[in-house]
Amino acid sequence: MNVPVWDPALEFMERETLERLQLTRLRKTLASALQTPFYRCRLAEVGLRHPEDIVNLRDLRNLPYTTKDDLREAFPAGLLAVGLERAVRLHTSSGTTGTPTVIYHTRQDLDRWTELVARCIVATGATAGDVFQNMTGYGLFTGGLGLHYGAERVGMLVIPAGSGNTGRQLQLMKNFRTTVVHATPSYLLHLHDALAEEGIARDRLALRKAFIGAEPHSEQTRRKIEDLFRIDAYNSYGLSEMNGPGVAFECVYKTGLHLWEDAYILEIIDPQTREPLSEGETGEIVMTTLQRQATPLLRYRTRDLSHLLGGHCPCGRTHRRLARIKGRSDDMLIVNGVNVFPSQIEDVLMKVPEVGTNYLIQLDKRGSLDRLAVKVEIRAAPFTGDPDALDALRERIGEALRAAILVKPSVELHEPGSLPVSEGKARRVVDLRPAF
């Protein structure tokens, strides 16, 4: 296979050289962090006053972690490392669930972010000849603007469609022969339903690739998207604290997500003990920015769970690969003492042809016991009209879930289209248990 690449010098850099580059950039990041009130105080607590106090990459482990709460505490300017006149953009969280957080960018920050996204796009085999329809939100959400500028830099024809408005998305796809889209997996599944509803034949679309991200999804969901649209779908990982998209992406081989280690130092830790974990062990992703001027972040706890893959990717890139995101350390559900991730439930449901793409996980309490209900939609096409078959289906799903998550949920069958469809990040879990 011909391996398409955007920045060969950096993407194929020898590990040793890459790690030297990381150390140089880490010291630079520390110098800039020491300009911020937040880190000056935090680093003084561990006795670090000069970037040269860091001698090798292992010294990073002596630095404190940064959490989402720290970002809230430092809001709005406690983490700003440059004068405001040098900042050219900010992305801030809505703050609907508390104090907002903010990341500022200098012109150079935006340029480097754009370069990382361009790398990701080219790694999937997309080229300047592609027509790219960006189906994620523009504005404060980083997904839209991040991919937008990266795609322009690659030279793709960009359609800044934004999220939602499915009728218009389909119209744009037909009119401009869109070949690549960027969307959440749940939106692409919704788009496929709309395609079928409007009776648009797949052959009328020129689509060949999709970039999917912004919500954890299973391998089954990716395959489902690939089969339904007859395209290749590539997993995208990013978070606004680390710019947004462009942090890690799958290449043409789809064997995990290459994380750009010239831009970030990656660690995986046990979320409870905060001890570093080794290759193959699932834990929380922790990242340090290496080339950000306006808002440098040290050992940021992403709350996303994954593990590092061993071995080498056939593409030859030296940057290590993350397994797909398993969930968030804070969306893990504890059901009668058993840890359950919504992604495990999704894995099972996606293998059942009789149920549709929407589902809902509901938790409540009867007495002292947690009750887990999984609501699924019956699909119109495979329905035979036989009530006994529905009972058997419900039993089969319940057993498959029990085998996967070790808890047997009650399975509820619902009519097609009756569960909420998410056009953004899917809200699949409703927890009605009283808080203590």
Partner: protein, 142 residues
């Protein structure tokens, strides 16, 4: 052979009339109807003037709806009428899974519809004994 429309609905207020609403809008007449209740959901079984059109309209409105062959037999509306029919099925060890009946002309003619394991074979046996097996069109005229 006559066909019955089966529709999956959740067992909660407003769902059954959502089905009848779709049929009313599509100008489809309901001849008979039963519900197989399974606690939180049910399967509504309908005998209608145009089963194909009814199923299509329901699916277009987002329902899971399917067509299924049923054995519909015209019997005399008098004591013993149904018994004669069921005797034939029993003789041949044919099990009836679900059934409903309605009167066409009181005192003269009734119709018995049922789900059986092998509807084609059952139809042949019943017809051989002189009882009229109805198709969709005749079923509706009964």
């Amino acid at each position: 052979m006559a066909e019955q429309v089966s529709v999956f609905i959740e067992n909660k207020p407003g769902r059954l009339n959502a089905v009848t609403g779709v049929l009313a809008e599509a100008r489809i007449d309901i001849r008979a109807m039963t519900i197989a209740d399974h606690r939180d959901y049910g399967v509504v079984k309908l005998l209608v003037s145009d089963p194909g059109a009814a199923q299509k309209a329901l699916v277009e409105h987002g329902f899971a709806a399917a067509l299924k062959p049923v054995l519909a037999v015209a019997i005399e509306d008098r004591s013993g009428g149904l018994h004669e029919l069921l005797e034939i099925l029993a003789e041949h060890q044919l099990n009836v899974r679900d059934a409903c009946g309605f009167v066409g002309e009181p005192g003269r003619r009734a119709v018995w519809c049922m789900e059986v394991a092998d509807p084609a074979e059952a139809a042949r046996l019943v017809a051989a004994r002189g009882l009229p097996v109805l198709g969709d069109a005749e079923l509706y005229r009964s």
